[in-house]
């Protein structure tokens, strides 16, 4: 037991030393990483998902998902579980597109991933594919650790499966938000797929479809479908989140590909704010300073 603890301590120290050259603002984004959050419950990973699903409608989607199931406050590792996907391995791509992905086996119903000390933190791409006869079902998600790593631009540009749905940008501040539009590229064998149909399912119940443009880019407008009563009582609207998934299908030459990208989206920031009250207080501040402009210094005039 003791040796396990000391091994864990030395791993933690190595991880920390590996972060020596990371920009220091790690803590600034600690609670913005999609890693630590609402889906986290004690007990087994499956139970966590089942409990969460049970509370908000058990099967909000039939799409394959990679869902987080770690402990609250988990910083240096990610615990994920497959949903609507049979037991397969997880491939994790780092920001360095020249490196091959890391294979993480499914153990006790969950994938446990911790970045190499040299790879620092930052953004990762996770992918799990299940082949059922001629059909390949692929779940993907993006994962961001609080610690800052390399830019994920090259990682996103990299072709990973046959059929990919990739956000053109991974949000870092507060994530995807309702009422905002984000672009997703759809690619087949690394080439843009114009006219691809993306199905958007949200955990709040929205079902809609978006069609990719001539460049294979779909502009997805996140629906304003949060019920204010569902906002996290302690953390507030800003930190309440729900899952969403984008799914597309392609059937080339007798084969079938079903690919999904899942992540979280948050309520509109303005839901917890009052613009008129804020502007009014700003004006009060201005008025308080106004006498400074009127009191002319006569001897300077």
């Amino acid at each position: 037991m003791r040796s396990k603890v000391s091994t864990a301590n030395s791993i933690a120290t190595i991880l920390l030393l590996g972060r020596l050259f990371i920009s220091s603002a790690s803590a600034a984004h600690d609670h913005q990483a999609p890693a630590a959050g609402n889906a986290e419950r004690q007990g087994s990973a499956e139970r966590a998902i089942q409990q969460e699903s049970a509370g908000r409608g058990r099967t909000w989607t039939s799409a394959p998902l990679i869902a987080p199931a770690g402990r609250p406050g988990e910083r240096n590792s990610a615990n994920m579980v497959p949903v609507n996907l049979a037991g397969v391995g997880l491939q994790v791509y780092g920001a360095d597109a020249t490196q091959s992905p890391k294979n993480v086996p499914l153990e006790d119903g969950r994938w446990r991933f911790a970045p190499e000390p040299s790879a620092k933190g930052g953004h990762y791409w996770m992918q799990a594919a299940e082949v059922r006869g001629a059909e390949t079902r692929t779940a993907t998600t993006a994962w961001s650790f609080g610690t800052q790593g390399k830019s994920p631009a090259a990682m996103l540009a990299q072709a990973k499966g046959s059929l990919d749905i990739v956000p053109l940008r991974i949000p870092e501040h507060g994530g995807f938000r309702e009422g905002t539009a984000w672009e997703f590229g759809v690619r087949y064998e690394g080439q843009p797929l114009p006219g691809a149909v993306l199905h958007l399912h949200t955990e709040n119940g929205t079902r809609t479809r978006v069609v990719a443009d001539a460049e294979g880019v779909a502009k997805v407008l996140f629906p304003r479908d949060f019920d204010p009563a569902s906002f996290d009582k302690v953390a507030g609207a800003d930190r309440t989140r729900r899952g969403f998934v984008l799914m597309t299908e392609l059937e080339p030459e007798g084969r079938k590909f079903v690919t999904a990208f899942n992540h979280f989206y948050y309520p509109d920031t303005m839901r917890g704010r009052n613009l008129w009250a804020g502007a009014g207080l700003f004006v009060i501040g201005m008025l308080c300073a106004a006498p400074l402009l009127r009191h002319r210094e006569r001897n300077n005039a």
Binding site: G285, M286, A289, R296
Partner: protein, 350 residues
């Protein structure tokens, strides 16, 4: 080459204004150039109020990671009754190392040459001078009262309250209290046409109160800057934080003793921070904790070689009578320029 530079930048103020403007664009809208991810930013621990809440920033200030580290690391470590391990100390050391690496090169000139909020206040004061608004200076008595405020802001809002919130003694809403009152958050986000930050956060009552105060402070600063030079800088925690390290950077202000200083005092008049010590003192004491290394005192000192802006042994600029004569023709030491006058039609024709 040097001649061309002299022609383009005939005064230190012109050079400083150009640098300020370039940095202003980089700090406020820079992500459109450097990239959107934190990894692309120039730094995430900059010694200036380049705001992290601005969604288009090209870098952001050291005060936000500091507050979060106090809250998450130190506060959390105390709660768990852990020893203060490397896991707690290392991120703070990293923040400090990044900060110091930047600070080493330009020191407190981050305030006088780079900070977007400093630039906004200075531009507003120029407008005030142009429109002949009164100039209120902070003299000895008032200065004594105001000066400790920046230390209270630093110790209270950057260090103490976030730690107390992390420990659970203070409400969670006090986890980054300085950001909640920081005027740069409101001013820079408004400049990117983003109204999220000026809107009052209504959820948590502690945060709502702090935000309300922040909005009032920001409104006050915007108008006060027309009549007081650098009003927020006087109480800015970044100024006190930077002044803790000001002797570590080779960039500094140097002043030698001169017999005419006692009666002259032009440098203090020129100083946007109204620092009387620059006229009264010399040597180490003349480089005051309030100094932003703007260099105006050196520009307006009429004595050759008395005030210098130096980087290590190199004098970047040295005061001279010739330069002074040219400088006062364009602008008086206190910033007064030819005012814009509104003349009634009848008077104009008379």
């Amino acid at each position: 080459m040097l001649e061309t530079l002299r022609k383009v930048f005939p005064t230190v103020s012109r050079l400083r204004f150009t640098v300020q403007m370039a940095m202003f664009f980089l700090m406020v809208w820079g992500s459109n150039v450097v990239g959107h991810y934190a990894a692309d930013k120039i730094s995430t621990a900059l010694p200036a109020l380049s705001c992290a809440y601005d969604k288009q920033h090209g870098s952001y200030c050291v005060l936000i990671p500091l507050q979060h580290q106090m809250h998450h690391r130190i506060g959390a470590a105390v709660v768990k009754a852990q020893q203060v391990t490397m896991q707690v100390v290392l991120p703070i050391l990293l923040t400090m190392a990044t900060f110091l690496a930047f600070f080493f090169v330009v020191g407190k000139a981050f305030c006088g040459w780079i900070c977007p909020l400093g630039t906004v206040q200075e531009l507003l004061n120029k407008v005030g001078r142009r429109f002949n608004r009164p100039l209120h200076r902070l003299q000895d008595g008032n200065l004594k009262k105001v000066r400790p405020a920046k230390w209270v802001m630093l110790l209270g809002l950057i260090f103490a309250l976030p730690i107390l919130a992390g420990v659970g003694i203070a409400p969670h809403g006090l986890s980054n209290p300085y950001c909640d009152v920081c005027p740069s958050r409101i001013v820079t986000t408004l400049l990117t046409a983003d109204v999220e930050e000026i809107a009052l956060k209504t959820g948590d009552s502690t945060r709502m109160l702090l935000n309300a105060l922040g909005n009032i402070v920001a409104g006050f600063v915007v108008v006060a800057a027309l009549a007081i030079r650098q009003p927020f800088c006087r109480i800015c925690p970044m100024l006190s934080f930077n002044s803790l390290f000001q002797r570590l950077s080779p960039m500094r202000l140097s002043k030698v003793k001169h017999e005419s200083c006692e009666k002259c005092g032009v440098c203090t008049q020129a100083c946007p921070m109204d620092i009387p010590e620059i006229a009264r003192e010399h040597g180490r004491k003349a480089y005051h904790e309030d100094c932003t290394l703007c260099g105006r005192c050196a520009e307006y000192c009429p004595q050759d070689g008395v005030i210098k802006l130096k980087w290590g042994p190199f004098a970047l600029f040295s005061s001279s009578r010739e330069y002074y004569k040219g400088r006062v023709k364009g602008e008086l030491p206190d910033g007064t320029v030819k005012p814009v006058k509104f003349v009634k039609r009848g008077e104009a024709n008379a």
